[in-house]
Symmetry: C2
Subunit: 131 residues, 2 copies
Amino acid sequence: MYTVKDVAKKLEVSEHTIRFWAKSGFFPFVKRNNNNIRLFEEKDLEWVRIVKCLRSVGIDNKSIKRYIELCIKGDSTIKERYDIIKKTKEKAQEQMSELENQLNLLNFKENYYVELIKNNSKDTWNPMNKN
Amino acid sequence: MYTVKDVAKKLEVSEHTIRFWAKSGFFPFVKRNNNNIRLFEEKDLEWVRIVKCLRSVGIDNKSIKRYIELCIKGDSTIKERYDIIKKTKEKAQEQMSELENQLNLLNFKENYYVELIKNNSKDTWNPMNKN
DNA sequence: TATGACTTTAGAGTAACTCTAAGTCAAGTA
DNA sequence: TACTTGACTTAGAGTTACTCTAAAGTCATA
């Protein structure tokens, strides 16, 4: 059994965020002990992991809530949930190729600076260069 | 020469965002015509591209502003700018591997749903399943 | 028993957009 | 010539998803 703090540490999400997600209704299944303290079971962690995954791919909180409501409804919604996951996956793949582009640009910039430093030359690319 | 709208379309960023960035002081070099309209030159587009790149890797606007101020200062700041780009690149690489993890999870989920549908079986993973 | 470490909540604060309203200007049309 | 349309401008309000703070409850240890 894990407290909010444990979950936060284990999944590398802030405690604030876990509580915010809880308040947003993302974990309707989480039990509380006698002192009103949330205790996540092993199985629940998988769920938090999915929420983190959806968020980090940029799915908004309203859509995550909708996905959760489909899960609550039960097996009749499996097809619809499958579609959501598939769309999300496609979105993630686009992000991957976008990130590759950005990495290329950063590599280019890095090399550019390396050359500048090595040759002690002027930064002619910089549109505001005063030199 | 490109208006804000042109830049927005070319770099796939909203016009609002370009104006917001302009207001934030990200494009101190952009000229205006007689009617006070911003006109970006070809060279300036490269700059907007860098800003987009830094933002999409999660660099905050204050840090981007700082980078720009270093650029304005001129060639004496090249080493410091190099360090920023290098750190940003490392951050992007971490994001890449994080995104790979998320993609793996999404693939796993996708296959799980595919199997459920194919075999018409129960969703035993779902912690809120009512079936 | 009190100190400290933990939890909870409501609600204020923040970053980075995102949108709206009101205004200027130039070009096209009746 | 007057009017409408459309592109651009600004200030500032609104939104999302956190992020933080404050107040209060519980429990172990000194």
